[in-house]
């Protein structure tokens, strides 16, 4: 499996993501600079966490207009797998590759802690290694993770099995609608989530619950 990580000027989990990809695929991912207009042919594109362009204006709003995102959108439309984590999720909603929006946390504060999350859908290349309703613990670290969409969209997402991750009952850290932590697009090749599976891949740091996501992708895309 060949992979690429998009690097915006203030991406900050690009290294964490790249190292997990290297660990599970055996090859270093391409690190693709935001100002590039085209990226190499890969099986998986990851948009990592961070603050892209400082997250001034609105998180991910400027990144969605960047050179490289035009190519990411084109490739996503052709079926290439795209994973957006945290700021990456925000960029995917801002580029309309995923529905909804990520608003300021309900508590109005940045929140950083390990959070239990339920895997709601295993019918995806991102979650095929998990059991349905499996509870995993991933760290969250964001100020704007409060997922919002209108009721009709939310009903549709639920009905189509597109709510992939949900915060465990009573553990919603940001007030997101229906405790949604991650969603997938209609074609099931683009997924975004607020928690950080890439920072839950080392037993020394806590339960390595995030490995399943990356190993599943390798299995599906190799």
């Amino acid at each position: 499996m060949k992979s690429a990580v998009i690097v915006f000027p203030a991406s900050n989990r690009d290294r964490d993501t790249a190292e997990v990809l290297e660990k599970v695929t055996g090859t270093k991912p391409y690190m693709v600079w935001h100002a590039d207009s085209e990226m190499p042919n890969v099986d998986l594109i990851v948009i990592p966490g961070g603050f892209s362009y400082g997250d001034y204006l609105r998180c991910g709003a400027m990144a969605a207009q960047s050179h490289i995102m035009r190519d990411v959108i084109a490739k996503a439309n052709k079926g290439v797998a795209v994973l957006g984590i945290c700021n990456g999720f925000q960029i995917l909603t801002e580029s309309r590759l995923l529905p909804g929006a990520l608003m300021r946390n309900a508590g109005l504060k940045f929140v950083s802690k390990p959070v239990p999350v339920d895997v709601e859908e295993t019918q995806s290349m991102f979650t095929r290694r998990y059991r349905k309703k499996q509870r995993v613990v991933y760290p969250v670290a964001h100020g704007e993770g409060n997922y919002f969409a209108d009721e009709e969209t939310l009903d549709r997402l639920e009905g189509e099995g597109r709510v992939v991750f949900r915060y465990a009952g009573g553990e919603n850290p940001n007030g997101s609608a229906r405790d949604i932590a991650g969603v997938i697009n209609e074609k099931r090749n683009v997924m975004g989530l607020m928690p950080h599976p890439e920072c839950a891949c080392d037993p020394l740091l806590g339960p390595p619950d995030g490995l399943g996501l990356f190993e599943g992708l390798v299995e599906a895309l190799s």
């Binding site: 000027p9 203030a10 991406s11 900050n12 989990r13 290294r15 964490d16 190292e19 966490g49 961070g50 603050f51 362009y53 400082g54 997250d55 001034y56 504060k109 940045f110 929140v111 950083s112 802690k113 390990p114 760290p139 670290a141 100020g143 950080h196 890439e198 920072c199 891949c201 080392d202 020394l204 740091l205």
Partner: protein, 729 residues
């Protein structure tokens, strides 16, 4: 040209003697630009004029020291060609005036000090002191400072892994925001600030210069009064996005061999960076301000030289490397400009619009800056014995203490800091010391900040010794070998002999403890004049300690892990209640002598405990400090909700449970291992005793003295969010 009147001299924070000294050094009257330059370079903040003679007494050398005080940060050797670069610095005055930006730029400034030396920042800590919770400003200041620290550090992608938060009325008018940054570099790729050689280009990199922060260093060198909030324009505004670009661009430039010297533009901006680089390199510098990237139109030379706009660096390059460097900064969309050249004149010469606007010998700003041996008066340390009511119920007192503002959980604070980014945080906030793996290796750094200001008030010498000992103990408790410290000395007005006495006493105490524990001081910062309307803060010499863990799989943590473990206390318990939290929280009095620190006992007990961790014999360790033994036991029970049953009989009195005797650790290990530990301790004269065993869901001292751990936890977790959420909206 503006005539320099006595009024103008005063407004620059200079006295008559100092002004006379300037005229003597220049052989003439200074112009306004020169006066501005002298005023910031001779300010307490930049010149350390009140403390330098005493700071010289600190031990700064040792086998691990690569770079001691005097550079942007200290550097120590952590083996395998790796170096750890660290420093702690205050941003007290600006944070009181504008808490979000003050704290944010404090974080930005200390990070620049570390990456200026070629290190990638890998961990942040901060030691915060606020006024009493009931004070009208405290909630606003806590909220602003915490979100400012998070706002900057989170965007930088550097985990904030711990620190301290205390409340005391002496900080009502002067909060303390001390930020510590720890970075990693290769020991043969350390960058220094000495601008050696003549004819080398001086380049400006980073953000544009604006009118913000002019005279920040001078503000930070004076007391506050009612009008201090009018100084808001002297507080700088931070832009972590630009700093992140600057970090990556500088590290990219440092991977080449284009740099001769580099220094960040912190306090006193362009002035101090150019003067200090020239001074250290024994060179001169000529600047042409017309080339300085400017954010605002028509800036004067005075404004440019004194601006404290953030996210800027000054570097001296090898000749001919300008284009290579410029390409890197262009890529990161940062300003880059050649603004001057090094010379062999040993003079700082500043040109603007074709005219020389300042011309002075570099040494007049450094070696020949005033140096004061201020008169000091040491108060007699408190020796009084505290009184207390022996009949008070122990468990109720425990709950009250762990729910008090100074002892309750700081979760509300640290959950606003990204502590998982970089995927190396082995020990999150809440342990004795933070543990951060050295990326890509099997070793780790342990980091802590400590000081107990109420001890320092009662006895500056013993209190400062205790701060060092506690830092050393916290590093030891996670299994690290303590290596070196950075100090952040926060005091009141040094022109008062009593305050100067506190400063001298504390520096002597730090020196004695650091020598005894082989724990050299490699960097530091002084923040004086922390007083409002004549009321000084408690003396607060904060100590930031760094240690090394050779095997990251052998890290001890505070929480009980298995039912049936034996709990062992290492160290002597005499029941010292003087200056204890018990006395303050339960009896409502701050009295008595602080606990004496026996440095030989610290070393002996600590070395014993560290060996046990390194050998893999114990994984559950907690140092006993604020609140004493029973509070430490509660802190070990709360993480996993596992209780303990203790068997101490009648000997266990209030001083036993709550005394704050030093050099103590609590361990939990299997009964067989605990027996072996007791035997080994006896052999080398380490005091050790068995207190009881772990298990159940209650903390049980006796059949009539017990409490559910869940109740302790609720009490411990409630105060902070409750207090903050009561904020008027």
């Amino acid at each position: 040209m503006t005539a320099i009147t006595q009024k103008i001299v005063r407004e620059h924070g200079l006295n008559d003697d100092e002004y006379a000294r300037i005229k003597r050094l220049l052989n003439r009257e200074p112009n306004l630009v020169e006066l501005g330059i002298f005023s910031v370079m001779w300010s307490e903040h930049c010149s350390y004029k009140s403390t330098r003679v005493h700071l010289r007494k600190l031990p700064t050398k040792g086998a691990v020291v690569i770079q001691g005080p005097g550079e942007n940060a200290g550097v120590i050797d952590i083996g395998d060609g790796d170096a750890c670069v660290f420093k702690m610095e205050s941003h007290n005055h600006p944070s009181f005036i504008e808490p979000y930006q003050g704290a944010a730029t404090g974080v930005g400034g200390i990070m620049r000090d570390v990456f200026t030396m070629g290190a990638r920042p890998v961990a942040m800590m901060n030691a915060l002191r606020f006024g009493e919770p009931s004070h009208e400003k405290t909630r606003h200041l806590v909220s602003g400072v915490v979100s400012g620290i998070g706002g900057y550090g989170n965007c930088m992608g550097v985990p904030t892994v711990g620190g301290e938060v205390n409340f005391h009325r002496s900080y009502n008018g002067n909060i303390l925001v001390n930020a510590m940054c720890v970075g990693l570099a290769r020991s043969d790729k350390i960058f220094l600030s000495a601008a050696k050689g003549a004819g080398n280009p001086v380049v400006y990199i980073g953000s544009k210069t604006g009118r913000d922060g002019i005279h920040g260093a001078t503000m930070a060198s004076a007391e506050f009064n009612e009008d201090s909030e009018e100084k808001r324009p002297t507080v700088q505004v931070g832009d972590p996005f630009t700093e992140k670009l600057l970090l990556e661009a500088c590290l990219e430039l440092m991977a080449t061999d284009a740099i001769v010297a580099i220094q960040d533009m912190g306090a006193a901006g362009l002035t101090s960076s150019s003067a200090e680089m020239a001074d250290k390199g024994g060179a001169g510098i000529e600047l042409d301000l017309d080339h300085v990237p400017q954010r605002e139109a028509n800036m004067t030379a005075y404004e440019m030289m004194l601006s404290e706009s953030q996210e800027r660096m000054l570097a001296v390059l090898k000749p001919g490397r300008e284009a290579q460097a410029e390409a890197i900064f262009k890529k990161w969309e940062l300003d880059f400009a050649v603004i001057g050249i090094t010379t062999d004149t040993k003079r700082l010469v500043v040109k603007h619009k074709g005219k020389i606007v300042a011309d002075m010998p570099v040494t007049s700003l450094s070696d020949e800056a005033p140096l004061y041996e201020r008169p000091y008066q040491k108060r007699a340390p408190r020796k009084d014995a505290p009184t207390f009511d022996a009949s008070r119920p122990v468990m109720e007192s425990l709950v009250k203490i762990i729910a008090s503002p100074d002892m309750c959980s700081r979760r509300w604070v640290w959950e606003q800091y990204d502590n998982s980014v970089m995927a190396d945080t082995i020990q999150m906030p809440g342990g004795d010391a933070a543990v951060v793996r050295v990326h890509g290796t099997n070793k780790a750094l342990a980091i802590t900040t400590d000081v107990t200001p109420r001890y320092c008030k009662a006895d500056p010498f013993e209190g400062a010794k205790q701060a060092v000992a506690e830092a050393w103990r916290n590093l030891t408790a996670v299994g690290a070998t303590p290596l070196a410290v950075t100090d952040n000395l926060n005091f009141g007005n040094p022109e008062r002999p009593e305050t100067m006495g506190e400063i001298v006493g504390a520096i002597d105490g730090i020196g004695e403890a650091c020598r005894a524990l082989s724990f050299p001081v490699v960097s530091g910062n002084c923040s004086l004049y922390n007083e409002t309307n004549g009321e000084p803060i408690l003396p607060t010499p904060a100590i930031g300690g760094v240690g090394l863990i050779k095997d990251v799989t052998r890290v001890a943590r505070i929480g009980f892990k298995r039912a049936g473990d034996t709990i062992v206390l290492i160290g002597d318990t005499k029941g010292h209640l003087g200056q204890s939290l018990y006395l303050r929280e339960i009896e409502g009095r701050e009295e008595g002598a602080p606990p004496p620190v026996d440095l030989a006992a610290e070393k002996r007990n600590g070395d014993f405990v560290r060996r046990l961790i390194e050998q893999g014999r114990v994984d559950t360790v907690h140092d006993v400090s604020d609140g004493g033994l029973l509070v430490a036991l509660a802190e070990m029970a709360m993480p996993a909700g596992m209780g303990a049953e203790l068997s101490l009989g009648e000997s266990a009195t209030i001083p036993f449970w709550f005394g704050e005797d030093q050099a103590r650790y609590l361990l939990a290990a299997s009964p067989e291992e605990a027996n072996r530990i007791m035997t080994d301790a006896a052999k080398i004269g380490v005091p050790a005793s068995i207190l009881g065993r772990t298990g159940g869901v209650d903390l049980v001292l006796a059949p009539d003295k017990q409490i559910a751990v869940s109740r302790l936890r609720t009490a411990h977790e409630s105060w902070f969010p409750g207090y903050m959420e009561a904020a008027p909206r």
